[in-house]
Subunit: 153 residues, 2 copies
């Protein structure tokens, strides 16, 4: 049940965040282009083998930082879920209907909405990396990519 | 070879970052306590089964957000490598001696120094989570934790 004035479902809880969230600052290194224009259209989880090709469009400044990556490589992609609220401690996911702590969910709603997906590179063309395995909105800000070695460190 | 005036090794390259890195702001949700007080002492990669117990000390504000996590669970832990420089596009890792793009490495040195480790929970006591699998400095700022389902989305 949505509560119109707060946007919370019954059982959900928000906290009042102390001051501005500015302990550290992020720099977007590019944007992610995907086929999905609305959150409802995004798949629940990307598929690095069978998902549709998506693109990381890096700021050309970072093109030299791709040296050493190649088609076929698995990479961990970190991105910023810029549309998510950040103050919920308890959530009631639609799929379970049960109150659950934010850190027991992979929901975009969390104090630092950083998502992590493993994707497989199809092609690299200058500062543009084409890959499969993402599940985010078109236009999502890109934070990082790095080699994935299974259980990542 | 270190170049004293810039801290770069031969073959490494930095970029001039445009303005302040403030596309988005992070809020630290706590600190990580580990046995390692210097970077040289940190293991190269944490071990979620045999590594020493470490602790996530969350701000008590976030304690309710742990509901649903339990000992034995594998979690992805995101943290901020606050001592790393952010402007290198090319690096020469000691272990290879070869020039490599930043995004082809898991080095802490990157535009957004966010690390991701998979760890296994040993205990939860109020806002403190004890777990194995981390490899970071004592006092490292904590950004997020979420359930790990293998190749993470």
């Amino acid at each position: 049940m949505d509560t119109p004035d707060s946007g919370l479902r019954e059982g959900e809880a928000a906290v009042t965040l102390p001051g501005e969230p500015a302990d550290a600052a992020l720099r977007f290194i590019g944007r992610i282009r995907t086929p999905w224009r609305e959150r409802a259209a995004c798949p629940r989880r990307g598929d690095p083998e069978a998902g549709p090709p998506c693109r990381l469009e890096l700021d050309p400044l970072w093109e030299p930082a791709l040296e050493g990556l190649a088609p076929g490589d698995a990479v961990q992609v970190l991105y910023w879920m810029h549309e998510a609220r950040r103050d919920l401690v308890s959530q009631v996911p639609r799929h379970s209907g049960r109150r659950t702590g934010t850190f027991a969910l992979r929901s975009p709603v969390r104090p630092n909405p950083i998502a992590s997906s493993v994707a497989r590179i199809l092609a690299i063309d200058g500062p543009v990396v084409t890959l499969r395995g993402l599940d985010c909105l078109d236009g999502t800000p890109l934070l990082d990519l790095k080699p994935d070695h299974g259980a990542a460190t």
